[in-house]
């Protein structure tokens, strides 16, 4: 159905007295170029209509012209805060098609990197979320911890944000000799600092007033909107891919799937805070038990997937990330589809924000943790 999507130039009032305003495309609270057209009655939100496409780069189409080694780097540009995990999902899908056995060392390193990325992503989210609701200091404190992870990544992978470290068959280069020492230092540092996070924001009465009972979504609605990751787990849906469809070495690890039942913004906040501690415990289990051996399986120079359809999924910091490859037997995919967690989360924004105040919209968007390039691709 044709939908009118022109940008409204100035606030307009319709026949029933509702005001229609734009938030975005350039607005600090949207964390990117997201354009929301909001229908307001006074200060109460009646409707939120997201308009997409401002950062659409047609990554799926680009991948069709790239070989199976080359397309992985593009996926770092989708959810740039969990680029390792995106690359991981793509590498898993290609390995599934080629039936490559990944060496044990590569599997452990992959999981270690995934969990470090998850902590980095969640700390950035914590700072940005606190900044959205009006606290500026947490942003700087969060970046201090994130910088340590970025340094570790820079030393081992060579880049800070778009690493392209996972390749089909393993990882690109072996760990840096200082990796284990630096990660252990980080664990000690972060354990004391995450308690500071709780002191500063979690217990704060102003923060609680802004988030408790704001943007509630029930378990049934969370399932029907297709939410995954922390927003769904805050509503009581058990959907951690690491638990229900374990990949790599997650089967052997001891960790909990964090589930809250309130479904409001504060529950989503708590889920992410507890996930950081879980990720930390996963890293602690693995850091001393990295097996020796090859870091990359022997693969052919030119990868050719057999004819067929392949799907693999991983749990990113935002939810389920799925890669679907249709192969015709050539060196490039015939069709590739990415199931990104942000898109379905955004679809539920209207449901969550209806009836709340316009100031609450920012708090809701903060806890949903949007990364706009992930939504638009």
């Amino acid at each position: 159905m044709y939908r009118k999507t022109e940008i409204i130039k100035e606030p307009t009032v319709n026949d029933s007295g509702d005001m229609i305003i734009n938030i975005g495309p350039q607005h600090p609270a949207t964390h990117g170029v997201l354009h929301l057209v909001i229908t307001l009655n006074g200060e109460t939100i009646k409707k939120v209509e997201p308009h997409l496409g401002y950062i659409h780069r047609s990554i799926e189409k680009m991948c069709e012209s790239l070989s199976y080694r080359q397309f992985i780097y593009v996926t770092s540009r989708m959810d740039y805060l969990s680029s390792h995990i995106n690359n991981h999902g793509c590498a898993l899908c290609v390995e599934k098609g080629m039936q490559i056995e990944v060496p044990a060392r590569a599997q452990v390193i992959r999981v270690l990197m995934d969990e470090l990325t998850r902590i980095a992503s969640h700390t950035l989210w914590w700072g940005a979320m606190a900044m959205d609701v009006g606290a500026l200091t947490p942003f700087f404190l969060a970046f201090r911890e994130r910088e340590m992870i970025n340094d570790i990544m820079e030393e081992t992978c060579g880049a800070r944000l778009t690493m392209n470290y996972m390749v089909p068959g393993g990882i690109m280069v072996d760990l840096h000799p200082t990796f284990q020492r630096k990660v252990k230092e980080f664990i000690v540092h972060f354990k004391s600092k995450i308690d500071e996070y709780d002191d500063l924001v979690t217990d704060n009465i102003i923060f609680k007033n802004r988030t408790v009972n704001v943007g509630v979504i029930s378990k049934e609605d969370a399932i029907s909107y297709g939410l995954t990751g922390p927003p769904a787990r805050a509503s009581g849906v058990s959907c951690d891919i690491r638990k229900i469809y374990p990949y790599e070495v997650y089967r052997t690890l001891q960790f909990e799937e964090i589930i809250e039942t309130a479904g409001d913004s504060f529950a989503r906040y708590l889920v992410r805070m507890k996930e950081m501690r879980q990720s930390l415990s996963i890293i602690e289990q693995l850091i001393d038990n990295i097996p020796e051996g090859d870091f990359q399986a022997k693969t052919k120079a030119v990868l050719k997937l057999p004819k067929g359809e392949f799907y693999s999924r991983v749990e990113t910091a935002r939810g389920e990330f799925g890669v679907y490859i249709v192969s015709e037997g050539g060196t490039t995919p015939y069709r590739i589809k990415f199931r990104s967690p942000g898109f379905s989360t955004l679809s539920a924004l209207d449901h969550m924000a209806r009836g709340s105040k316009i100031g609450d919209l920012v708090a809701i968007m903060g806890t949903l943790d949007f990364v706009i390039p992930d939504i638009d691709r």
């Binding site: 080359q70 030393e155 992978c157 840096h176 002191d199 009465i205």
Partner: protein, 159 residues
């Protein structure tokens, strides 16, 4: 009565939570050593980037102005963005044989995403990533680089 008690405990809980947060803020206000801000252009001389940092592709030459590139175009094929273009020529070896060699190794820095795939693909380790990161120039043409130095030859013994 229970309502009043709850109300008062709420008020004191609120004050305690604010005090806890402000105590932490005050701690960082008085402890300057915890600040990790680096003053970037001032610390340029002491700023060390890790050896694996991917800044731009360079081709190392030794003291005899010799490199290790055979012109096999493996990096050109591995590059997802068309960043590298190798123009080859035929050298006449002293014994009269024709030998394939590179004429120009064109590198488009403006197209490069530093994905490291060309370095991985290179069979002779002729190219590597440099630790530079300040790539801004005034003219766009300066970003198209020629990586082999003028008059350079392939090192002996590399096929």
């Amino acid at each position: 009565m229970s309502f009043l008690g709850k109300y008062i405990s709420n008020v004191f809980g609120a004050i305690r939570s604010l005090w806890k947060g402000m105590k932490l803020t005050g701690y960082y206000f008085t402890h300057h050593k915890e600040i990790i801000t680096q003053q970037y252009p001032d610390n340029k001389d002491t700023l060390l980037l890790p050896e694996r940092f991917r800044g731009e592709v360079v081709m190392p030459h030794d003291e005899n102005n010799e490199h290790a590139c055979t012109g096999c175009t493996a990096c050109e094929l591995a590059c997802p963005n068309g960043t590298i273009k190798i123009i080859t020529k035929f050298d006449i070896a002293p014994d009269g044989r024709k030998k394939k060699a590179i004429d120009t190794f064109v590198y488009h820095l403006e197209l490069c995403t530093m994905c490291n795939l060309c370095i991985e693909a290179c069979p002779t380790d002729a190219i590597k990533m440099a630790q530079t990161f300040e790539h801004s120039v005034f003219d766009r043409n300066e970003l198209t680089k020629k990586l082999n130095k003028p008059g350079s030859r392939i090192r002996e013994g590399i096929e």
